[in-house]
C-alpha cells in the first residue's frame, strides 16, 4: 500500500486510473441502485455483453471503440426494453440471445480487423491502467448526463421502479421512463467497461448498491453509500493490485464480492440477534405482568 501511494505521486497513469475508478463509481452508485431495486441485473448483463458487437464494429470501421460501445449499449437497451414491453413472455430467452449475438458479432469484427492490435482481453476484463487521460473527460461527461437525468426525472424514475401500474394510473408515461432507465444503464455500462471490462461490469453495477441496501432503507441513501463503496472498491482494488502486479479489474471485483458476502452474513446474524433480544424483552415483560 505504501508503494502504491508513493507511485501515485510519480506516475500520471496511476493518477488517471484512480480518477477513472472514482468517476465510474458515481455511475455504479446511482444507476446500480436502480438496477438492484428494480431487479434488472440480468438485463444489465445482456446490455453489457452485447456491447462487444459495437466495439468490434467500431474497430473494424476505424471509429473510437468507446463510441461504438455507447451506440451498441443504447441500441441493445432499447431492444431489450421494447421486447419486454411488447412481449412479456420469453424475456429471459431473448436477453440471453442478444447477449450471445452481440458478443459473436464483436468477435467476428475483431477477427477481421486488419492490423488488429488491441488486446481482446482488455475489452473483456478492462485495463484501468491503460485509460488515456482524454477519456476521463468522456467519462465525466457520461457522469454528468446520468446525474442530471436522474435529478430531473427522479420522481418518475422512482415511481416506475417502485410500482409501474400505479405510475401508469397517475398518467406517467411508463414505457418512456422504463426505456430511459435502461438507456441510463447502458451509459453506466460504458462508463464501467473502462475500469473492469464488459464481463465484470455486472458485479460493479450491483454489488455496491446491494451492500448499501443491507444498511440503508431509502433510494437516495443507497445511491450515496453505493457511490462511496464503489470509490473504495475501485481505489483499494487498484492499490492492492499494484504491488503484486495483479490485474486491477478482477482485484476490485473480488474485493467487492468479499465485502458483499461478509455483509450479507453479518446482516443475517444481526437480524437474528435483534429478533431474539426482542423476544427476550417480550418474555421479561410478560413475566413482570403476570
Amino acid at each position: 500500500m505504501q508503494d502504491f501511494i508513493q507511485a501515485l505521486g510519480q506516475h500520471a497513469f496511476l493518477q488517471t486510473a484512480l480518477l477513472a475508478g472514482l468517476l465510474a463509481s458515481l455511475g455504479c452508485g446511482v444507476i446500480g441502485t436502480f438496477v438492484v431495486v428494480k431487479r434488472i441485473a440480468f438485463m444489465a448483463g445482456g446490455i453489457a455483453h452485447s456491447v462487444l458487437g459495437g466495439m468490434g464494429a467500431a474497430l473494424y470501421f476505424g471509429f473510437d471503440p468507446l463510441l461504438g460501445a455507447l451506440a451498441a449499449a443504447v441500441l441493445s437497451a432499447l431492444l431489450i426494453g421494447l421486447v419486454r414491453l411488447a412481449w412479456n413472455a420469453q424475456e429471459d430467452t431473448l436477453i440471453g440471445a442478444l447477449w450471445a449475438i452481440g458478443m459473436a458479432i464483436g468477435i467476428l469484427f475483431i477477427a477481421k480487423t486488419p492490423g488488429y492490435t488491441t488486446d481482446l482481453m482488455s475489452f473483456l476484463f478492462g485495463n484501468i491502467l491503460l485509460v488515456p487521460r482524454r477519456e476521463l473527460w468522456f467519462m465525466a461527461g457520461l457522469d454528468l448526463v446520468l446525474v442530471i437525468t436522474v435529478m430531473l426525472f427522479y420522481r418518475q424514475l422512482l415511481a416506475v421502479t417502485f410500482d409501474e401500474e400505479f405510475a401508469r394510473l397517475r398518467g406517467v408515461p411508463v414505457a418512456f421512463f422504463y426505456l430511459l432507465l435502461l438507456c441510463l444503464v447502458a451509459v453506466t455500462v460504458v462508463l464501467l467497461i473502462q475500469v473492469v471490462g464488459l464481463i465484470l461490469v455486472i458485479a460493479l453495477l450491483t454489488l455496491p448498491a446491494a451492500i448499501a441496501g443491507h444498511y440503508v432503507h431509502s433510494l437516495g441513501g443507497m445511491m450515496l453509500i453505493a457511490t462511496l463503496l464503489g470509490g473504495v472498491f475501485t481505489s483499494t482494488g487498484l492499490a492492492l493490485s499494484y504491488g503484486p502486479d495483479l490485474p486491477a479489474g478482477p482485484t476490485m471485483i473480488l474485493l467487492a464480492g468479499t465485502v458483499y458476502v461478509v455483509s450479507a452474513v453479518l446482516g443475517r446474524f444481526l437480524v437474528r440477534r435483534r429478533s431474539r433480544s426482542r423476544a427476550q424483552r417480550r418474555a421479561v415483560l410478560s413475566e413482570a405482568g403476570s
Partner: protein, 263 residues
C-alpha cells in the same frame, strides 16, 4: 342499505361513471357481457360477485388499463384514460415488492405525480398534501416507517392515503379488507363512509352481507350485472348471485352469510 340513501337527492346529478353495453373477453371466453351501470355523483356503490365474475376486469376497464371490446365507458364525462388522473385507486394486493427501500411518506408522495411541473423534486405543497392525506387515514405516525414493516391494516391505510393525495373525484377500492383481520374491517369502512361525504366511492367486495351496512347500492356482477339494487340484501338476492345459475361457485349446504367468506 342505509335509510338515508333513499332520501339522498341524486336524480338531477350526472353520472360520474357511465357504462353502456360493455363486453370484454380474454381470448375465447367472455369475462363481461352487456354490462350497463351508472354511478352517480356522491354515491357509495358496492360491486359484489363471485371470484372470476369479472369484478377486477371491470375495474381495469374503468381505470383505462384495458380497452373495451364492446360498448363504451365514460368516466367524469371523459374516456377512462383521460379521466384516470382524477380517479383514486386502491389495489387489492400491493403491486410493488414489499422489501423496496422506500418510506411511507415517499410512497404517498408518488400519488402526487401529475401535479405541478414534470421536472424536479416534490414541492412543499406536495409534502403538505401527503401529510394531510396520512392524517385523514389516521396514519401520520407511520410517515417515516419503511413500507415493508407495516401490518396489513396499516398498509391498506397508506395505500388509501396514496389514492387520496391525488385529490380524486372518485375513489375505487378492490377488496380493501381482504388482507386484514376482521376487527379492522369496520374501521376501514367507517373511514370510507366519512370520505363518502365528499367523494364518490366504488368498492369491490365478496362480502355482500358486510358491506350492505355501509353502501347506498349494490351492483352484483357475474359476467353481466345480475342485480342492481337498493333493496335490502336477503337470501333471495344472494341466491340469484351465487345460486344455481352460477357455475363457478357452489355453496351447497352453507348459509349465505358464510358463503361469501369462501374464496
Amino acid at each position: 342499505m342505509t335509510e338515508g340513501s333513499v332520501l339522498r337527492e341524486t336524480s338531477i346529478k350526472d353520472p360520474v361513471i357511465s357504462i353502456r353495453d360493455l363486453g370484454f373477453s380474454y381470448g375465447e371466453s367472455p369475462v363481461l357481457e352487456a354490462v350497463d351501470l351508472e354511478i352517480l355523483d356522491g354515491e357509495f356503490v358496492g360491486l359484489v360477485g363471485p371470484n372470476a365474475g369479472g369484478k377486477s376486469t371491470l375495474l381495469k376497464l374503468i381505470l383505462g388499463l384495458l380497452e373495451p371490446q364492446q360498448g363504451r365507458i365514460r368516466v367524469l364525462g371523459q374516456s377512462p384514460r383521460q379521466a384516470v388522473r382524477r380517479v383514486g385507486y386502491v389495489p387489492q394486493f400491493p403491486t410493488f415488492p414489499r422489501d423496496f427501500p422506500i418510506s411511507v411518506e415517499q410512497v404517498v408522495l408518488t400519488g402526487r405525480l401529475g401535479f405541478g411541473p414534470m421536472l424536479g423534486w416534490y414541492r412543499a405543497t406536495d409534502r403538505a398534501a401527503a401529510h394531510h392525506a396520512l392524517a385523514e387515514v389516521e396514519a401520520l405516525d407511520l410517515a417515516h416507517r419503511r413500507i415493508g414493516t407495516l401490518s396489513g391494516g396499516q398498509l391498506q391505510r397508506v395505500l388509501l392515503a396514496r389514492a387520496l393525495v391525488a385529490e380524486p373525484a372518485i375513489l375505487i377500492l378492490d377488496e380493501p379488507t381482504a388482507n386484514i383481520d376482521e376487527r379492522m374491517e369496520g374501521d376501514i369502512f367507517d373511514l370510507l363512509a366519512r370520505l363518502n361525504e365528499r367523494l364518490t366511492i366504488l368498492v369491490v367486495s365478496h362480502d355482500i352481507a358486510f358491506i350492505s351496512g355501509y353502501v347506498d347500492r349494490v351492483a352484483c356482477l357475474n359476467r353481466t350485472l345480475v342485480c342492481h339494487t337498493t333493496e335490502r340484501v336477503d337470501g333471495d338476492l344472494v341466491h340469484r348471485l351465487y345460486g344455481e345459475n352460477v357455475r363457478q361457485v357452489a355453496h351447497a349446504g352453507t348459509g349465505p352469510a358464510h358463503a361469501q367468506h369462501r374464496h
